[in-house]
Symmetry: C2
Subunit: 197 residues, 2 copies
DNA sequence: GTCTATAGTGGGATAGAC
DNA sequence: GTCTATCCCACTATAGAC
């Protein structure tokens, strides 16, 4: 699956560099604690020079978060129309999250932690997309329960447990020396779906 | 189990109020995006007046995070010396996290998201405590695998899955109209330990 | 495309009156 | 214990030279 956002090609190569450096800093300290001077310093230029490439600090955040939100939405839509049982779709979703964790952990951190600092319009659009995503995930879980493939537990608790693990996987993946992606997928699917006993 | 921190009694009642209001704001926007003027406004006083009760904005964060870190450490130590199988200890840990989620969600948000903005000394102490906590949790999981009580999966993956779910439970608990704590404990233990299939 | 200079705002924190 | 007034600094962003 190709996960690197295509819409980032709308931006000049210098802009892409800035967004990359900024996202790294956002992940470490959070959007609000990072200054445009920090970003400029990481680029080796002065803060004023950034503004030849970006419109504002908030714009960087919006590009990061909204691009990734669209990636999640597109991935969900592909999986929804694919063949397979609900359980197989959940496995595909887990694998998609892991691919994103490995390839776009900085954007994922911004999406998790800093979405509320985007401009108001983007916040509204983002929350809508997230709710739609979760609703689709919930439906898949419910279908699995109806078909007997999944134990009859609260779908909400199952959904939350899987999503919270996948959402924060990027924190853990960087600490443990970047283990093999396929091993990670196999183990994660096993633990999340089959449990530990 | 008594979870409300006793060490908070070191502070005057006005200081406790300030910490409570501040933690609420920190949870919404993050520590860095909240100003002392925001905190003062929530208290109905001017920013300068805060400084009769606190030494700095950072002090508020440190009290929140370090008190809760000690609560986690104390809880772990109690469970470590208690009787019971490794699996029963894991259940107790899950229940402790849920109690903290319900009673101290604001401090939990600060501990999760803003610990890196504490003064350097506290950051060092905090990271040490967190590593010790995780190491103890890991040992319990390994004991459970050795005794055959737990499936022979990567202990790291099991640990991460449980901890990430519990760490971010506060986000979910506030969205879903605060369901009964005992129901939540039962369902969470079931999903986390037994899985979904 | 980057720079210096600077505008304009708002940040954390202090002094001293009441 | 709270206030007004203020300090000093850092912030985002712009203007205009090179």
């Amino acid at each position: 699956m190709l996960l690197l956002s295509c819409s980032i090609m709308k931006h000049s190569s210098r802009k892409v560099e800035i967004i990359a450096k900024a996202s790294h800093l956002f992940k470490e300290k959070g959007y609000s604690a990072v200054t445009v001077r920090d970003i400029a310093q990481a680029m080796g230029i002065k803060a004023a020079s950034l503004y030849n490439h970006i419109q504002s600090k908030q714009e960087i955040l919006s590009v990061l978060v909204m691009d990734l939100a669209r990636t999640f939405t597109d991935g969900m839509n592909s999986i929804l129309v694919s063949k397979g049982t609900p359980l197989q779709k959940i496995e595909s979703l887990i694998e998609m999250h892991i691919d994103i964790t490995v390839n776009q952990s900085e954007a994922l951190a911004a999406l998790n932690n800093d979405w509320m600092h985007m401009p108001e319009d983007d916040v509204v659009a983002f929350v809508r997309m997230r709710e739609a995503y979760e609703e689709n995930f919930r439906k898949i879980i419910k279908q699995g329960i109806e078909s007997g493939e999944i134990k009859p537990r609260h779908p909400e608790v199952i959904l939350f447990s899987i999503l919270s693990t996948l959402r924060t996987l990027y924190l853990w993946y960087q600490k443990r020396g970047k283990l093999d992606v396929n091993v990670l997928k196999r183990d994660m699917v096993a633990v999340l779906i089959e449990g530990m006993v």
